[in-house]
């Protein structure tokens, strides 16, 4: 049970006792039961965090001590020290596995220590022999060789380091000097997915599972940006609409019962990202600059990279549709307005690409603004209906953003803007009058 709920329960217990729902003794037992849970949970987190910090600091300290005397060592000694560092990390992880330690603190601490030790040893060997292998090769080798530690120790810390490492690799490989294939990043990500799925299935609301989901969501966003070729102008809108909505729906599916924003990383990132995409599409520039006919042949545009973007757009859109249908069939509460965004974006992209004139561009621009207006209104209405201040504020914020953006849009004439604003204002006032009359009727 979360701390917020435990606090609520503590507040309610005196009331329940006063109303003779619970006896004083029963109330004391309930309070004691949840107090011990709170303490135990806090203790576990502290142990794990201290173990992670301890393992990381010890590895760093050993490296620094060795570095201080590095100049005095000959090549064979340096090579031996590098191997010793790797062995030390292996010994720590081996001890945990041999003693079958189930403590998260042990597993996380030794897992990270073993992972960092190998990386340090590997780097020291490269330095000893003045190797000029590029950073990308180094970090990929380090991550792949230490990935099994994640599965063997069931540790989240090394998994997060792995995500950061392979994403760094993709960024390095995508630079013009290397002209490599950052799209292989998806393969490296897939190697971690079984661990992520298993962790989520076991305890979807455990802090380690939640942390892993945050890392995964951020890594997927960063990796997608890095892997995009951008030969298709603004195809990223379709890709990211599908990606963010898929995240939102997947979050509702797996962590829909989380009580705090922290416990629902996929939902948070998905909703925020999809909202930003929808807002970006309210600008006319986006629709004017779409499609294959405005393609730039970028320095690394090859047929595979062009197909990669197209495949990503199709997969992201289809995934969003499938998840949406699945969530609705299972009766899960998801926002249809958000769920249809990828389909609308894909449709708009296809129509704009196929058409020649400004008519379709204008139509998509207007449709995008109507969509965002409707989305903001629905958010506001839902917040009012459920008496949720956060929902009301979010709805107001969305509408305000749209109004400000259109107010300062110099492509729309003053008369058109003026009429549209007046009509919308009248609409709000009319809604106010209707709601007031209904409230008066009920009372």
């Amino acid at each position: 049970m979360s701390r917020k709920h435990i606090r609520w329960l503590h507040d309610q217990l005196p009331v329940l006792v006063a109303q003779h729902v619970l006896s004083a003794e029963a109330a004391a037992r309930v309070k004691a039961h949840y107090d011990s849970q709170k303490t135990s949970s806090a203790r576990t987190i502290a142990l794990t965090v201290f173990a992670i910090l301890g393992g990381t600091l010890i590895a760093g300290g050993i490296i620094l001590l060795v570095a201080h005397n590095w100049a005095q060592f000959g090549r064979p000694t340096r090579a031996a020290l590098a191997l010793a560092l790797v062995l030390l990390g292996q010994a720590a992880a081996g001890f945990t596995l041999w003693r079958n330690k189930t403590s998260a603190a042990f597993r996380e601490g030794t897992g990270l220590f073993a992972q960092l030790s190998f990386g340090a040893g590997f780097a020291l060997i490269a330095q000893t022999y003045h190797l000029s292998d590029d950073f990308g090769s180094f970090i990929l080798a380090w991550m792949l060789v230490t990935l099994p530690l994640v599965y063997l120790l069931r540790a989240t810390g090394p998994a997060l380091v792995y995500l950061a490492g392979v994403t760094c690799w993709a960024e390095t490989v995508s630079s013009w000097i290397n002209q490599g294939s950052p799209a292989l990043w998806w393969l490296w990500l897939a190697l971690l997915l079984p661990f992520a799925v298993t962790t989520m299935r076991r305890h979807p609301y455990h802090p380690r599972a939640i942390l892993l989901m945050w890392g995964l969501a951020i890594a997927v966003c960063a990796g997608t940006i890095i892997c995009l070729d951008s030969s298709w102008h603004n195809l990223w809108l379709v890709i990211f609409s599908g990606l963010f909505v898929s995240m939102y729906l997947a979050g509702s599916f797996w962590q829909g019962e989380g009580t705090t924003l922290w416990q629902r990383p996929l939902t948070v990132i998905g909703t925020a990202g999809a909202t930003v995409m929808a807002f970006l599409m309210t600008f006319s520039d986006v629709w004017e600059d779409m499609g294959w006919h405005d393609r730039d042949v970028s320095w690394r545009s090859e047929s595979w990279s062009v197909l990669h973007d197209l495949a990503l757009a199709v997969i992201a859109t289809v995934a969003a549709v499938v998840l949406m249908v699945t969530c609705r069939r299972r009766g899960q509460s998801v926002r249809l307005g958000l769920g249809i965004l990828p389909v609308l974006t894909a449709l708009g992209y296809i129509l704009t690409t196929l058409s020649d004139g400004d008519l379709m561009t204008g139509a998509c621009f207007i449709a995008a603004n109507v969509y965002f207006l409707g989305f903001g209104l629905l958010t506001l209405i839902e917040g009012i209906r459920n008496q949720q201040l956060a929902g009301v504020n979010t709805g107001m914020l969305l509408l305000a953003a749209l109004l400000v953006a259109r107010f300062f849009n110099s492509d729309i004439g003053f008369v058109a803007k003026g009429i549209a604003f007046i009509v919308m204002g009248c609409g709000f006032l009319a809604a106010n009058v209707v709601m007031t009359r209904r409230k008066g009727g009920r009372s």
Binding site: A82, V86, L97, G121, A123, H130, L131
Partner: protein, 302 residues
């Protein structure tokens, strides 16, 4: 997963990690022991690599290969693996002799490299300036159309550099570098390009760079080397020399000081090459290894 299976898999992982490290160590030790030795002239700089310690960044004096004969389009592509044969010039310094698409036979020292850039309208390198002093004199004083066009577009600093170069050691590499820089700038000067290429309407210098170069070589046939069919920049393994963190900037400072004194001995690296792999053996300032040079200068740590 059972405990036994977990331990078995962990054991395999440990063996893999140690084997990888041992393989790397063994591979490079064999190259250092059995590899052919070459000496390259270099120009070091000093950035920082956050992950692998402080190093002196090595830039070879000549890290490109000229392809003299025209080749089929797309014969060489950036990112492509190729093989460069090493040779030694008359001064005893190593150079990249020729580029092959397949590994050469036994007994021929070569490096396995990647093509970084293929330039079919190559600019000028100092080695393309055959007589830097004569070229400088022609540009400053001659009335021929090419020299007049170049002279009119000289900046104040360029004029001063050339004049100082001529007043000092006219055979020094510095003057050749100055002339190469000047000519490269002129490859992109619209006014100069129009006059050199002889077109009435404006030439797009970004497209016509090769033609402008040809015109310059035609104007100074005895002073400039003809343009190669392609100039290929390669990615080679001799780019870093790791040093203790406190010594790397001192090494670069020592190199700069050494260069200013214009000693006959060059700053060089010795490398070992074996079966396509190569690594740096030592960094030399003059006839001394870098650590010994810094120690004798009182800068090395005891």
């Amino acid at each position: 997963m059972t405990r036994r299976l977990t331990l078995l898999l962990f054991g395999i992982l440990c063996v893999v990690q140690l084997t990888l490290c041992a393989h790397l160590i063994g591979r490079w030790e064999i190259i250092l022991r059995d590899g052919a030795s070459f000496t390259f002239a270099i120009q070091p700089v000093d950035p920082t690599d956050a992950f692998r310690g402080r190093y002196v960044a090595i830039r070879l004096e000549h890290d490109t290969l000229d392809i003299e004969q025209p080749v089929a389009p797309r014969t060489y592509q950036p990112g492509q693996t190729a093989y460069v044969v090493l040779a030694t010039n008359d001064s005893g310094f190593a150079r990249f002799d020729r580029l092959l698409l397949e590994a050469p036979g036994d007994g021929i020292p070569f490096l396995k490299i990647k093509v970084q850039q293929v330039d079919e309208d190559a600019g000028f390198l100092p080695k393309d300036i055959l007589r830097a002093d004569a070229l400088a004199q022609r540009i400053l004083t001659s009335t021929d159309p090419a020299s007049a066009a170049l002279r009119e577009n000289l900046t104040h600093n360029e004029r001063e550099s050339i004049t100082n170069g001529l007043a000092g050691d006219a055979t020094s590499p510095a003057l050749a570098s100055t002339m190469a820089s000047l000519l490269n700038r002129m490859l992109y000067e619209q006014h100069v390009a129009d006059r050199l290429v002889g077109q009435a309407k404006a030439v797009n210098v970004y497209i016509e760079r090769g033609r402008v170069r040809q015109a310059l070589v035609k104007a100074y046939p005895d002073l400039l080397a003809p343009a190669p069919a392609a100039r290929i920049t390669i990615t080679h393994p001799f780019t870093r020399y790791y040093m203790p963190e406190s010594l790397a900037p001192k090494a670069e400072a020592a190199y700069r000081e050494h260069s200013r004194s214009q000693r006959a001995d060059r700053t060089t690296i010795t490398v070992r090459v074996l079966r396509g792999d190569g690594l740096i053996d030592n960094l030399w300032i003059g006839a001394q290894p870098i650590t010994e040079h810094l120690r004798s200068a009182g800068d090395a740590t005891p």
